[in-house]
């Protein structure tokens, strides 16, 4: 038997009842004593994170003190609104649908995005769909450089490496979506004297999978300390509808379906979870590898990727910096 300690995937298991009580008590304290707000606005996407946050807020504050907000736009999957409504109905909570497409058209979000795509795919236009994807970063030493995948109206797809200008143009334009959503959330927060709940899990919060002043903005973030697999545990405990628990995590930002894996993490989320845990707890790559179903070199690459993402994320988390403390 090897004397080297090997990590099990069970290290991430939590006691969901106890964790729920802890979060619920914190939400009450934050709203009542720190923020002095009367309830919470939760933008619900039909994904598991925002659904869990809605369930936690309802438990903490009462269903009459939460507002569930849906903000679909032209590229949103119809599933998102359907599943979001399922959350509000399960909770018996008030909900509002705000289609943000007109705001986005006003900001020329789609137009600017398409102009940027045309820098590398000149024929891109009406009837085309697109998404941006990363290469496999686990099996070789590569940069996290995006390509755009376009699908023509007759279904042909092609993948082209983005230039810096095209990449930045696409991201800058699509970031209007998250910022428009946040603007609507704060409209209702101002109207009702509520606080805005942020819905990132630990992977997203730590690795910068959010838009600064978009979905990164919120008054409190009640599940930012939880690994994704722990969010799943809470979802099952809280009774989040099963279809939402089974749904593949998606960005729901691009017109072609795009998994979070291909957009950001390069790895199934359960594996990414374990790697982040390993990195946070100083576990050597060799000891973590069996539990993550990866080899030692792959885990080392993921550790390196986590570190470089953290450098980029520093800017995303930073508030306005001052010349001197006041």
């Amino acid at each position: 038997m090897s004397t080297r300690s090997v990590i099990s995937a069970d290290v991430l298991r939590i006691d969901p009842a106890r964790e729920t009580e802890r979060i619920v008590a914190n939400i009450r304290d934050i709203l009542l004593n720190q923020l002095k707000r009367k309830g919470a606005v939760i933008g619900v996407s039909g994904g598991i994170d925002s659904s869990v946050v809605a369930f936690l807020c309802a438990r903490a504050l009462g269903k009459e003190r939460i507002l569930v907000l849906f903000t679909p736009e032209t590229d949103s999957s119809s599933d998102s609104l359907r599943l979001g409504r399922m959350v509000a109905e399960s909770l018996g909570a008030r909900s509002v649908v705000e289609d943000i497409s007109p705001i986005l058209r006003g900001a020329r979000c789609y137009e600017r995005r398409d102009e940027s795509i045309r820098r590398v795919v000149p024929e891109y236009g009406e009837g085309y769909k697109s998404k941006i994807v990363l290469p496999n970063l686990i099996d070789a030493d590569r940069y996290a450089i995006f390509s755009v995948v376009v699908q023509s109206p007759n279904g042909e797809t092609k993948k082209v490496r983005l230039t810096a200008d095209a990449y930045l143009g696409i991201v800058a334009a699509t970031n209007f979506k998250q910022r428009a959503r946040k603007m609507i959330e704060y409209y209702y927060a101002d109207l009702l004297q509520y606080a805005v709940a942020g819905t990132p899990n630990r992977l997203e919060y730590d690795q910068g999978f959010f838009v600064k002043n978009g979905d990164g903005a919120a008054d409190f973030k009640p599940i930012a300390h939880l690994y994704k697999s722990q969010v799943f545990e809470l979802a099952a405990y809280l009774g989040v509808p099963e279809e939402i628990q089974r749904r593949l995590p998606t960005t729901d930002t691009y017109s072609l379906e795009q998994s979070q894996e291909e957009f950001y993490f390069s790895l199934p989320l359960a594996k990414m979870d374990l790697c982040l845990y390993g990195k946070n707890n100083g576990i050597p790559a060799a000891a973590l590898a069996p539990a993550a179903g990866l080899d030692e070199k792959q885990v080392e690459r993921v550790y390196g990727m986590i570190e470089s993402r953290r450098k980029v994320t520093h800017y995303l988390h930073a508030g306005p910096l001052l010349v001197e403390q006041i």
Partner: protein, 102 residues
């Protein structure tokens, strides 16, 4: 074209584009990523600069840390690339680069 000249030109580009024109005196061997000098978007900008300045096409599989992650790596990559395509790319080479801090 000498390796030293290429390294100087690329340093000039990096200083102008990523370091607000302030040469921090980073070493030719220093990793751009580890030193926080260039992130992956920056690598795309570096690739565009190399293609435009030296008249080469950087293939997807060539965009690797081995080729791009330090001045030495970039110089070595460019030398290999220019030798391979020396005749075709030589007329496209520009001696001047943006910025003057080299």
């Amino acid at each position: 074209m000498q390796t030293g000249t290429i390294a100087q030109q690329v340093r000039g580009f990096i200083v102008e584009n990523f370091l607000l024109g302030q040469d921090t005196g980073f070493n030719d061997r220093d990793s751009f990523l580890e030193g926080g000098i260039i992130d992956s978007t920056g690598v795309l900008q570096l690739v565009a600069y190399l293609e435009e300045t030296y008249g080469i096409t950087v293939e997807d599989e060539e965009v690797t840390p081995e080729n791009m992650d330090s001045l030495n790596n970039v110089s070595a990559y460019l030398c290999r690339k220019l030798n391979i395509t020396a005749e075709a790319s030589a007329p496209g080479i520009r001696e001047s680069v943006s910025g003057g801090n080299v």
